[in-house]
Symmetry: C2
Subunit: 234 residues, 2 copies
């Protein structure tokens, strides 16, 4: 979450063990031009996240019902996601527990509703949530560790949308080098503050030229930085 | 493990929860000039790692006993560490299990014994171990994820000892920015192949000038690299 807008990215790998991987988009957009843009990124058990998103979409289609199209604030919107999670958990939880499993879907949700500033949340599997702040402008979910240092070094609230988008892509590239549970394609969405519409959204497929060039230049650039770091005096 | 030698580093933080942290050196050196240099880095439960090292040191002082001073190869040496771990586990394991705990000490061990090339191992808590190879020249233990991407980008077998030492320090700096369970001081040891003695060993205390300068230059350098990455074409 930057002064000038929001950057969202998600990979597309789901797996049930390394011998069972698949591709599913983990980014869902709810938008009405000039009124609201709400982006949902999901992680965790696919059956859980898909059910939550289906519930949200169904409710969205019903005018009388409290839903993401008529929520007055991002706080109300995130509460609706939390409600949907708990509804799904109420239905499935017992059956999962019988196999020592539990409902582990979690989400990142952000966007802007007309009349409010852009806001960004992370929703835990229990349905409670935290909001990004000035001190901690970005949130991650899923396999977060490998990609975090580069974000910590580069991202501040005043980073440009452009630089932040590149940083997020490099962060994913770093994670994919180290962890098979994260994989292409990458979905990237850059939201310009107060635009109240989605203008920049792109999918990077396997072997995307720009994405590969970025990874290569980053590797070469960082090696260069190393060569210029001061030598250790023993 | 590089063509020209070995680089070892360890932090000094131990903890039993965030409300109980302490400093202990996790690097132990066994060396006899012109004969052998063996370096042991430990991670996991401190009672376990300290007991293993005490056992190894006591055995080392007894000439008739198979120990790290008379092991004929690094393979034999790492087997002796494994034996010591299993001896400690035999003594403590049942008592830990009664509290739902288990012996979770693990080690990185590397060095050179006259007549052999330098070798590097990672020993798991169960006492089995793997050896670094041409394809995967470095090994980590403990909180490994945050610091891994930078190693993957920079380290190959032909990296210089100097660059590798800087990379390891930056890797620790990245990890410490993200995880409170890793903390200063950092112990760094650089072993030159075939030297059969320790010439370069240094401790970086909190607020070490060189270490702080390194972190600062790295952050500035990487931000610079970002600014020069190609812009995304929407």
């Amino acid at each position: 979450m930057l002064d000038t807008g929001l950057v969202f990215a998600s990979d597309s790998r789901t797996h049930a063990g390394v011998d069972n991987i698949a591709k599913f988009c983990k980014m869902t957009v709810f938008s009405q031009t000039d009124q609201r843009v709400i982006v949902l990124l999901s992680s965790g058990n696919l059956a859980g996240t898909q059910a939550v998103i289906s519930v949200l979409k169904q409710r969205n289609a019903k005018p009388g019902v409290a839903n993401l199209s008529n929520a007055e604030s991002m706080f109300d919107a995130v509460t609706l996601v939390s409600d949907a999670m708990r509804d799904v958990d109420r239905r499935d939880g017992h059956y999962l527990q019988a196999s020592d499993l539990h409902f582990n879907a979690s989400f990142i949700m952000g966007g802007q509703i007309a009349g409010e500033v852009p806001r960004l949340f992370r929703i835990y599997a229990q349905g409670n949530f935290i909001e990004a702040s000035l001190e901690t402008p970005y949130l991650q979910t899923g396999e977060t560790k490998y990609g975090k240092p580069i974000m910590d070094r580069v991202i501040t609230r005043s980073t440009s949308l452009n630089d932040a988008a590149k940083c997020v892509l490099v962060s994913f590239d770093s994670t994919m080098c180290s962890n098979l549970s994260v994989g292409m394609p990458i979905d990237l969405l850059v939201y310009q503050r107060d635009s109240l519409q989605v203008r920049m959204c792109r999918r990077f497929e396997e072997r995307d030229e720009y994405f590969m060039a970025l990874g290569k230049q980053w590797t070469e650039g960082t090696r260069q930085v190393f060569r210029h770091l001061p030598d250790l005096d023993w």
